[in-house]
């Protein structure tokens, strides 16, 4: 069979990909926008709305012989279906003819629109979708001139029906296309939306508890072809045509979701540009057209009242407000005096430009102590070596491929990866989820875990801290699984740090690396290693020389002067107070004060991703740009400018005029960044499916990618496929001390981290502090469900409610980090549990 077929659209022949959908093919090859409402190229066609009707014909075949019947002129005779056919449910076939511009088709489009409008309110001027609404656009183009439906015959329905706390449904506007229902079912795998009743009473409902509440719910508002679904965040917030779209990158995790910030000058924000909403920006290689709710609704920290706004300098016991000039000159003096006994700790949300300037500063001072924060994940090195091969697209994984996810909870750590890997499983990939407890992704690896969905997968359960051994010995202990993984056409391994120490997570990544090397998958496209490194730029830290071990080393032997940039040491590390007290001078630059000001001699305000230019390297090693969108807050500066100013003050170098100039320098000095100038990063090619553009059938305008798809740094294995196995890094097994249990920190997507808490919409969704404890341990300690307990380990004491469950092993307590103001342990350790108070009988 050939890869292409010939089809004829309105009299012109086109060569199109075999097996493609007719709507997609017509759009891609002929620029012919067949109008659609229910069809969406990311989901299975359902043929519901009937908007895409076309005349469809195929070559006639002789009934007896099966041969194609020819016309007198030798061309094949085309037999048209007597009725119009839905293009969206049609797969192209060789010789197919369609007509999209005949009177019959024009009438049919007109009729379907008239039907839809017969019950749709004509309130475009006050509708959130107004200006980017497929129904509005199509009505302008194909619709009836006037409604023949009597106004009083229209149904009156609920206008503000909450599907959950985040998404509202306007029942009058809904056109029953089921895109939202199908998104939740097909893409997310959480079928919490459905139709209720039938006929004209058909309505979208949720009956789940809590309601429509998934980490991806906002996407439904993008794909809704009318203004029926709106987010509580943006509803009535602005008119789409008042907004300016600025390309950006999600600041939250290793996925590096491409986003668009919709900006408007806002009176309440001093007349400056303000983020009105966050929309996905199409990058098929990264996030396709989806973003997590955290990315969409988590942006409020950028304009939080708690932001640091002025440079502060300590005099005696107190910090006093100052200005940049004095701060920079005083810092320069202190650094000069330090005699090289300086170190820096950089948070994983810092841009490459920031990191470069910081590194240069430290080098200029003769220090190579560059700490990456938080020091929890040791996998970056292995990712640089055997990360997913050049050109990898997780969206292409499917039948014949395999995925192993070990020691992490992707739903909570990198939700978009979980979304895409779940879909790979739907397409037939073999999914193995290995962990020390239940995680959401496991539902898609175990037959019968949810619904009757047929799944290809396995779950491996191991004791806390045993991940390294499991990965290393997979071929022995899980022979069948290991064999399927090895033999798969493509193999992606996601190795995290849950239940591991920093050294343990490094060893796990190395074991995964060895597995990929042995199976021959290393260095090939659509195969390789991923790691849910915290923050948006875990790989950038690595490439620019910042190491988590250096952070541990800094804590173990503190320097005279410590520069802490965009890292919340107090929130993360229960021991921070102890070791920071040994540092003579702490220079702290961040968005928020995490309590460190008590120790800091300088507290300096930084700009967030929204206020400045910069770039991140995502977990697939893709370098991606974000751009200045929001107006400045106080005196905050981008970090690269702060460090550049200090360097200038110290006579090391001139301050660069722009982030672009910093990137230019990086590209000349750091080999992996070669050629990655801003202009190159901003390049976009037309992507399939073509969802942006003027037709807007598939979503809001903000899908259109104008900011570039980024450039991937090759993995070392891409060039050198013959990797030898390495010996795994030393990592002592952590064991519980006598009378203690293992405390296993875990991550929740919604937590009390400083930059997340200000999210107006999501803050109420952060769970109260809890810890999961096995029934046997609970019983031994006299703890029942809901009791208040103290979990203490080293310098950390966390007070939380006991959640008694056998989803973890006995002897282990799973403790979500960042649920309280006190810092929980960063890595697995031994600790004690004690009961503080009885469960309060709750109302239910």
């Amino acid at each position: 069979m050939s890869d292409t077929v010939k089809i004829n659209i309105d009299g012109t022949d086109y060569e199109v990909a075999a097996g493609s959908n007719l709507v997609d093919a017509a759009k891609w090859h002929a620029g012919n926008d067949i109008p659609v409402f229910c069809y969406h190229p990311k989901m299975d066609p359902v043929g519901m709305c009937r908007m895409c009707l076309v005349e469809l014909g195929t070559p006639a075949r002789d009934r007896a012989t099966g041969d194609i019947v020819l016309n007198d002129d030798g061309s094949p005779q085309i037999r048209y279906f007597p009725k119009l056919q839905t293009a969206c449910t049609t797969t192209v076939s060789d010789g197919m003819h369609i007509k999209t511009n005949t009177q019959q088709v024009i009438d049919a489009r007109n009729d379907v629109l008239e039907f839809l409008l017969s019950s749709h309110p004509l309130d475009c001027p006050i509708c959130d979708k107004g200006g980017e609404c497929p129904l509005q656009n199509l009505t302008m183009r194909h619709g009836p001139q006037a409604s023949r439906m009597y106004f009083e015959d229209k149904q009156l329905l609920e206008k503000h029906y909450p599907l959950g706390d985040l998404i509202f449904l306007d029942q009058e506007r809904c056109i029953q296309c089921a895109r939202c229902v199908r998104f939740q079912d097909e893409i997310v795998g959480d079928d919490v939306l459905a139709f209720h009743e039938r006929g004209r009473r058909l309505q979208i409902i949720t009956n789940s508890d809590p309601g429509f509440d998934t980490y991806f719910s906002g996407n439904t508002t993008d794909i809704c072809p009318v203004g029926a679904l709106t987010t509580a965040d943006f509803r009535f917030g602005a008119r789409p045509w008042e907004l300016t779209d600025v390309p950006s990158i999600s600041p939250w995790d290793a996925a590096g979701e491409n986003i668009t910030l919709s900006m408007r000058l806002d009176r309440d924000f001093g007349g400056k540009a303000l983020i009105k909403r966050v929309m996905p920006r199409q990058n098929e290689l990264v996030n396709e057209i989806w973003i997590s709710d955290k990315t969409r609704f988590g942006h409020h920290f950028t304009r939080s009242d708690d932001r640091l706004v002025t440079a502060q300098i300590r005099t005696g016991d107190a910090l006093r407000e100052s200005n940049w000039d004095s701060a920079v000159s005083e810092i320069a003096q202190i650094l000069r005096d330090a005699g090289g006994d300086v170190a820096a700790i950089a948070g994983s949300g810092m841009s490459n430009e920031d990191l470069w300037e910081l590194r240069r500063l430290m080098e200029g001072l003769g220090s190579s102590r560059l700490g990456a924060w938080p020091p929890t994940h040791g996998g970056a090195e292995a990712v640089a070596e055997v990360g997913v091969g050049f050109g990898t697209n997780l969206g292409q994984l499917g039948k014949g491929d395999a995925i192993l996810v070990i020691a992490c909870d992707l739903e909570e750590e990198v939700p978009i990866w979980r979304l895409r890997l779940k879909q790979a499983q739907d397409r037939g990939a073999y999914l193995v989820v290995a962990n020390a407890r239940d995680t959401r992704l496991e539902d898609f690896a175990v037959q019968g875990a949810r619904n009757d969905r047929v799944v290809e997968g396995d779950a491996v359960r191991y004791g806390a801290g045993e991940a390294v051994g499991v990965m290393r010995d997979l071929k022995k202990s899980h022979k069948k699984i290991a064999e399927r993984l090895s033999k798969a056409e493509n193999l992606v391994i996601v190795a995290g740090a849950e239940g591991l120490t920093l050294a343990g997570s490094r060893a796990l990544a190395q074991a995964a690396r060895n597995f990929l090397a042995e199976s021959g998958h290393a260095g090939t496209r659509n195969s390789g290693l991923l790691s849910p490194l915290p923050g948006a730029n875990g790989m950038g830290l690595h490439y620019l020389g910042f190491r988590p071990d250096a952070s541990l080393d800094i804590a173990a032997s503190p320097p005279k002067v410590l520069l802490v940039a965009q890292a919340e040491l107090f929130d993360d590390d229960p021991a921070a107070r102890a070791w920071l007290s040994q540092v003579e001078t702490v220079i702290y630059a961040n968005f928020f004060d995490d309590g460190i000001s008590e120790f800091a001699d300088f507290v300096l305000p930084l700009q967030t991703f929204a206020e400045r230019d910069g770039s991140f390297v995502n977990g697939e090693r893709r370098v991606q740009r974000f751009t200045l969108a929001q107006g400045p807050v106080g005196q905050a500066l981008p970090a690269w400018k702060l460090f550049g100013s200090i360097r200038q003050e110290m006579g090391m170098s001139h301050l660069k005029p722009s982030a672009a100039a910093v990137m230019l320098e990086i590209s000349k000095n750091v080999s992996v960044f070669e050629g990655m100038r801003y202009k190159a990063l901003a390049q976009v090619k037309r992507q399939f499916p073509d969802v942006g553009g003027r037709d807007q059938y598939y979503g809001g305008t903000a899908y259109t990618n104008t900011g570039g798809v980024g450039i991937q740094i090759p993995a070392i294995a891409d060039d050198d496929k013959k990797l030898k196995p390495v010996d795994l890094a030393e990592s002592d097994d952590v064991v519980a001390a006598d009378g203690e249990v293992l405390i296993m920190p875990i991550m929740r997507l919604y937590n009390r981290q400083r930059n997340f808490r200000p999210s107006l919409l999501l803050e109420p969704r952060i769970l109260a502090p809890y810890a999961i404890i096995h029934p046997a341990d609970a019983q031994a300690l006299g703890i029942i469900q809901g009791d208040v307990i103290d979990i203490s380990a080293g310098d950390s004491i966390i007070r939380a409610r006991a959640s008694v469950s056998d989803e973890i092993a006995a002897g282990v307590v799973a403790l979500p980090r960042h649920m309280t103001d006190a810092a929980a342990p960063m890595s697995i350790c031994s600790g004690a549990i004690s009961r503080v108070a009885q469960a309060v009988a709750s109302a239910d």
Binding site: D191, V192, E197, T206, N207
Partner: protein, 168 residues
């Protein structure tokens, strides 16, 4: 009571689960059981069915809403569904239906003050040669007229006064 763990339904639930290739297929028979237990498809019933079938409750609610024989509101002891579709209407079913509502003092879809009877009209029940007719708690009563109906109502009232009915 509940349907989960209720010995009354155990064998039937098992029978339905065994019939099909997927658990989901059993949602309709199980909704009938929930309706039998609670008198209508109430939130508890939906939860339980969802739990038995490992489905999201939204899916179960959706099924309950699509089909007219699941009632998402409480009904009277006797749920009277009068066919008023064309063939029956040609034989006076509309008048019969109107009379019955008046007799019981109820609106369309309403329940009599004593909680005994819910009256609603339905589409063709495949009994067109025996009009007027109705379905009472899913059993057919055919070739009706006002006299026969009065007798029946009296009988049902008596029945209810005696034991609790065994119709569903």
């Amino acid at each position: 009571m509940a349907i989960i763990g209720n010995p009354k339904y155990e064998a039937r639930i098992d029978h339905h689960l065994a019939k099909y290739e997927t658990k989901r297929s059993a949602v309709m028979p199980l909704l009938y059981i929930a309706q039998e237990e609670y008198g209508w498809v109430n939130p508890e019933g939906i939860e339980e069915v969802a739990q038995i079938l490992n489905l999201d409750p939204t899916q179960v609610k959706s099924i309950a809403g699509f089909y007219t024989m699941y009632s998402e509101r409480p009904k009277g002891e006797y749920w009277l569904q009068v066919c008023t579709d064309l063939p029956c209407a040609l034989k006076g079913a509309d008048d019969f239906h109107a009379w019955l509502k008046e007799e019981l003092g109820v609106e369309e879809g309403g329940t009599s003050a004593d909680g005994m009877f819910t009256v609603e009209h339905v589409m063709c029940l495949a009994a067109c040669d025996k009009a007027p007719m109705l379905q009472c708690n899913f059993h057919y009563v055919e070739n009706l007229d006002q006299n026969k109906m009065r007798d029946l109502l009296a009988k049902w009232r008596q029945e209810a006064a005696g034991a609790s009915n065994g119709h569903r």
